[in-house]
Amino acid sequence: MLTRRDLGLAAGAAALLPLAKPALAQGARGTVVMAQQAQPPSLDAQVTTAQASRNINLHVYETLFARDEAGNPQPDLAEGVDVSPDGLTYRFSLRDARFHNGKRMTSADVRASLQRYGRVGGSAFIMQPVEAIETPNATTVVVRLKEPSPGFIAGISSPRAPCAIIPEEEAGKDASRIEVIGTGPFRFLEFRPDSHVRLTRFGDYVQNTRYQGMDGFAGRKVANIENIMIRFVPEAGARTAGLQTGEMQILEAIAVPAAQRLRNDRNLVMHEMMPWSFQTLMLNHVQPPMDNPVFRRALQAALDLEEIMAISTDGLYRMTHGWQHPGTTYFAGDVGRPLYNINNKDRARALLREANYRNEEIIMLGDSSFSNHQATIVTAAEQLRSVGINVRTVITDWPTAFSQRTQRTGWHMWALMLGIEPYEGPYGVVGFFSGHQPVQHARDPVIDDCQRRLTTSLAEADRKRAVSDFQARMYDQAIAIKCGDVGIVQATRAQVRDYKPYRIPRMWGISLA
């Protein structure tokens, strides 16, 4: 029931409304400043897999299908897709969309974009099965495959290096030479290297009315913010300070100790995301003694993975054995679990004796560019020394470590955090260990078979079985070691409303109080 006091307040508020209106409008729109550590190596969404680019590009560009909150592909620029029973023909119907240059998106733009992705795309392999792309009319695209590829929709919907739809006129250009023009809810204004990127709300954005609200990278994207400034702030302490002073409203990530320290600050909100990535130790199977599965099992038995995770993540971790995230379509349940985090030194020593280990030097490769990698290597090295393994740690910067791991010699064990690949589903993860150049440098026939079944089986049950067999083989042969799941914390000022943490800080759907 309304009281006289309420009416008085309402009358007062109504009287003030004309005065308050501009401020309210400004508040409803306004500018959000988001800070991220690195600057984007490219604003050509198709070519780069960098997280720094993704944070920006996924506001500007859109794809035919995009991942929802649970990581499953959903139509975005496509209304939907009809797949022929033989799995060889994909008929996409397109929804109404406009590019930032004012042009209406047609099937010609989609065809040119997909063809360009096959040439320059960061995951160009997803276009390999494509035989032809036809455009029977302006709103229909037909993709014909040479062979069934059940991962095709997963591939073109992945945010890793998004298969962005760009204007046909831009699609002929080489990598990173295009104008930054997409169909997304924000359009590109300015890129000042080493400083910032500015985006602004795209007034003619056509919302996807198929959805009620935001859903991962798909869903209805409503831009309530007028301008976005994405600042590149390399120093973590400076980013945190900027959030505290209000110079920045959103941080793509905040250090875990800082998040814990600021948890009770009423001006700030910490958004924990679990899982964000896998922490792994990759093994080089062509370098003796790593070519011996018994020796690899000794490593598997020796490591205290919980200690590694606790140290390398500042405490933000989850002990999970799966090579897919729990709760996702391809999670393989308890397969391999008994061999995860064994932490049994006696068993490790026995396996070393069985492997006839003769004190050969094991090179453990890490990099200081990612603190998790370095901490993982240093901790694991100490644990392996404790069972009598002759270990040498090599810590370099990221490009050096990565270059080294592509060589067959010079390393035995390499720390790597896999973030976007497990999020994408099983294709990238299984693919990493299979094919002509697996990360372990030696092909494994069982894993190759799992990859074949995963990428060609039309029945989902068969594909799930392939992933389950892959996981069993990963543990049985100690192909690589999964340490656990790593989380991250994204942070916002309290004035940022309706923020939901995700793979990037999403600026649609939020507003400023």
Binding site: Q39, P41, S42, V47, T48, T49, A50, V120, G122, A124, R160, A161, D174, A175, S176, R177, R192, P193, D194, S195, R231, F232, V233, P234, E235, G237, A238, A241, G242, Q244, T245, E247, S369, T396, D397, W398, P399, T400, F402, S403, Q404, T406, L416, L418, E421, G428, G431, F432, G435, H436, Q437, V439
Partner: protein
């Protein structure tokens, strides 16, 4: 004087030639390339090779060296692989930030350091001397990046007086420029301030013992004129030499401070290029840094010669 300057300038050319060769050699020795940055951690060697081919990284080193020197002679530093713009343009865009930072820091370090040094010399052995030299020692000992973070916490987070970082061009807003420069320049200046203070103190103590200073005092000249006009002017000769070295150190220190305060300067450009192996930017950036270093030292030498005629006449 002109002849002296021309001679020093000519002597700098071989230095720059060697620097350019070294900068080219270093990027070839260091493993990894820009393709790694672009391709992502799960890229195969095959994917990397394809990307390298597309980026033009597969040409033999001698072809690239010839291309580098050929372009250099035409005044062209090449094109950044990642920024997709000319290296010279990228550097020129960022140079005002780095020069603002370096020379503001140099000015703070020189003025404050000299003042502390004079105070310490005049009050030698007293409490003021110990306080001044203690301050200099602390400034000299603390790492600039740490000081930078402490300054951010105190002056931006706790007091809210200054921004945490970012750059405002002078042409756009002089007051904003000063606000954006103050903390990074002060953090950068402190170590060199200590150096100036100690050098000034030592030089002043020597000069203050000279006969002409004693004579000036005996004539009844006011103390501040004796110190400011007669003693300090002569004591500054070795200090000016140190200014050249300090400018070089500050230029190097700017690399770190630019990262702490998110300043889009040349240092950050070079660090980013090293992390991503953007070869043309590394080569161009190193060459430019060496050129500035050589030029600053040249200016110092000329100043030194102007202050002390014995040097330009080769009679020292």
């Amino acid at each position: 004087m002109l002849r002296y300057a021309a001679g020093r300038l000519l002597a700098a050319l071989p230095v720059l030639a060697i620097v350019s060769l070294l900068s080219f050699g270093i990027v070839w020795i260091v493993p990894g390339d820009v393709a790694v940055e672009m391709a992502g951690p799960t890229a195969t060697a095959e994917e990397l090779a394809r990307l390298r081919e597309r980026l033009g990284l597969t040409r033999p080193w001698y072809e690239q060296l010839a291309g580098w020197y050929g372009a250099l002679l035409r005044g062209d530093l090449g094109e950044s692989i990642l920024l997709r713009q000319g290296v010279a343009q990228a550097i020129v865009e960022r140079l005002p930030v780095t020069l603002s930072l370096t020379f503001t820091a140099l000015a703070i370090a020189f003025v404050c350091g000299t003042a502390l040094g004079v105070l310490a010399a005049v009050r030698a052995g007293q409490a003021a001397d110990r306080v001044a030299m203690g301050t200099a020692l602390v400034g000299f000992s603390l790492p600039d990046f740490w000081l930078g973070l402490v300054f951010v916490y105190v002056f931006a987070v706790l007091l809210g007086w200054l921004p945490t970082g970012g750059y405002v061009p002078f042409s756009q807003d002089p007051a904003g420029w000063a606000r954006s420069m103050l903390l990074p320049a002060a953090a950068l200046a402190l170590s060199q301030m200590g150096l100036f203070a100690r050098m000034t103190r030592a030089a002043m103590l020597e000069v203050l013992r000279q006969d002409y200073v004693r004579t000036a005092r005996a004539k009844g000249m006011p103390g501040w004129i004796v110190i400011g006009k007669h003693a300090l002017r002569n004591a500054l000769i070795p200090v000016v030499t140190v200014a050249g070295i300090a400018a070089g150190v500050l230029l190097g220190g700017a690399v770190v401070i630019e990262s702490v305060f998110s300043l889009p300067g040349v240092g950050r450009l070079i660090v980013g290029a090293i992390q991503r192996r953007d070869y043309p930017v590394i080569q161009g950036g190193l060459l430019l840094t060496a050129t500035i270093f050589v030029l600053v030292n040249l200016i110092v030498d000329l100043l030194y010669a102007a202050l002390d005629p014995r040097i330009r006449h080769g009679r020292r």
